[in-house]
């Protein structure tokens, strides 16, 4: 085995490498004199393909960058349009219907079924003809005794609060008991 081949075959490796017996080392040396065929290798083609690959990867990285930027711009434009085209917030956000018993000592007794309407949030502007009409109609309905208790759809949470007029509230029973004791 000449110097070139010995370095190529790795016999210059550290001594931890296992050693061949003499006869097999001779066979290895004879084999190592052979050179693998190199006639089919095509360095020009390899370099050409490597250049193409480098170009393609460069173009691809640019395309990725461009598509990323355009995606960011598109999402920003979409967010801006969403904000600009968002409808205005409603004038009356919620309406709570609260039942107050007609015989409550806190409020003066009124005729008709119990009713109170409380509105959260700003009322519609007065100058809007539609909202003014709606507001007037709501006020009128309130005065005429609209929103009666029976009109409230039965809600599981509200059911304990809704009592029949025949079923006196507990505080009234307590008051009666106190009066009975005094008597």
């Amino acid at each position: 085995m000449n110097d070139n081949e010995s370095s190529r075959s790795g016999s210059m490796e550290p001594s931890s490498e296992p050693q061949l017996p003499g006869d097999l080392a001779e066979v290895a040396a004879v084999l190592a004199t052979l050179s693998p065929r190199a006639d089919a290798l095509n360095l020009e083609e390899l370099l050409y393909r490597a250049g193409q690959q480098a170009t393609v990867s460069s173009v691809r990285s640019k395309l990725v960058a461009v598509s990323f930027v355009s995606a960011v711009l598109a999402s920003a434009a979409s967010a801006l349009l969403t904000v600009l085209l968002m409808p205005p917030s409603p004038a009356v956000q919620r309406i709570h219907l609260v039942r107050i018993p007609s015989d409550s000592p806190v409020v003066s007794p009124l005729t008709g079924p119990p009713r109170v309407v409380r509105a959260d949030g700003p009322l519609a502007p007065r100058h809007s003809p539609v909202s003014t009409g709606l507001r007037n109609r709501m006020l009128q309905d309130l005065e005429n005794g609209a929103f009666p208790e029976v009109a409230v759809p039965p809600d599981a949470d509200l059911l304990p609060l809704i009592r029949s007029p025949a079923d006196p509230p507990p505080y009234r029973q307590q008051l009666r008991q106190l009066l009975d004791r005094q008597v």
């Binding site: 052979l34 693998p36 089919a40 490597a50 250049g51 480098a54 990867s57």
Partner: protein
């Protein structure tokens, strides 16, 4: 080693291309394509600490995959029938002619042959060969030794028959 430049690629190809082609030839009929693809794949690597060992591993995997194709196998048989197996440069004088060496190597089991090629022409150490073929360092060495022992017997038989032929009038 960071990503390989075209100059480094060319140098690696010139130095190790023939041995890698011989290594790929153990399995497939188009070893040059396999080797070129492996070199191009090396260029795509961001980091490669041991490019030579990496190349041998990639070439081995690709050559084995290529050999699994039936059509390629048929083409290989046609190529072999047309040109004969010639794995080595045919230079004179040589202790062992290229055709005989090829024939003798071909008769070895591929497990021994790949170790011999990776060691003698690839220059890998037995630890690298063990990793390459998926075995321990000592098993790789044992395969190498067993293959060489078979080759020695065939070389002796070959020289004996040559002597007998030369002695004939």
């Amino acid at each position: 080693m960071a990503s390989v430049s075209p100059q480094q690629l060319a140098e690696l190809y010139r130095t190790h291309g023939p041995a890698l082609t011989l290594f790929a030839r153990q399995w497939c009929d188009g070893p040059e394509d396999v080797v070129q693809e492996a070199f191009l794949a090396l260029m795509r690597q961001d980091r490669c600490q041991f490019p030579l060992a990496w190349l041998y591993r990639v070439v081995r995997n690709r050559a084995i995959n290529a050999s699994r194709s039936r059509s390629r196998r048929r083409r290989r048989e046609a190529v072999v029938a047309e040109t004969g197996h010639r794995w080595f440069e045919d230079r004179q004088p040589q202790l062992l002619d290229a055709r005989t060496a090829t024939r003798m190597l071909e008769q070895l089991p591929v497990e021994q042959r790949e170790v011999i090629v990776a060691r003698l022409w690839g220059g890998l150490n037995f630890e690298q060969i063990g990793e390459l073929v998926g075995t321990s360092t000592s098993s790789a060495f044992r395969r190498f030794q067993a293959g060489l022992a078979k080759l020695r017997l065939r070389l002796e038989a070959n020289s004996t028959s040559l002597d007998a032929r030369q002695r004939r009038p």
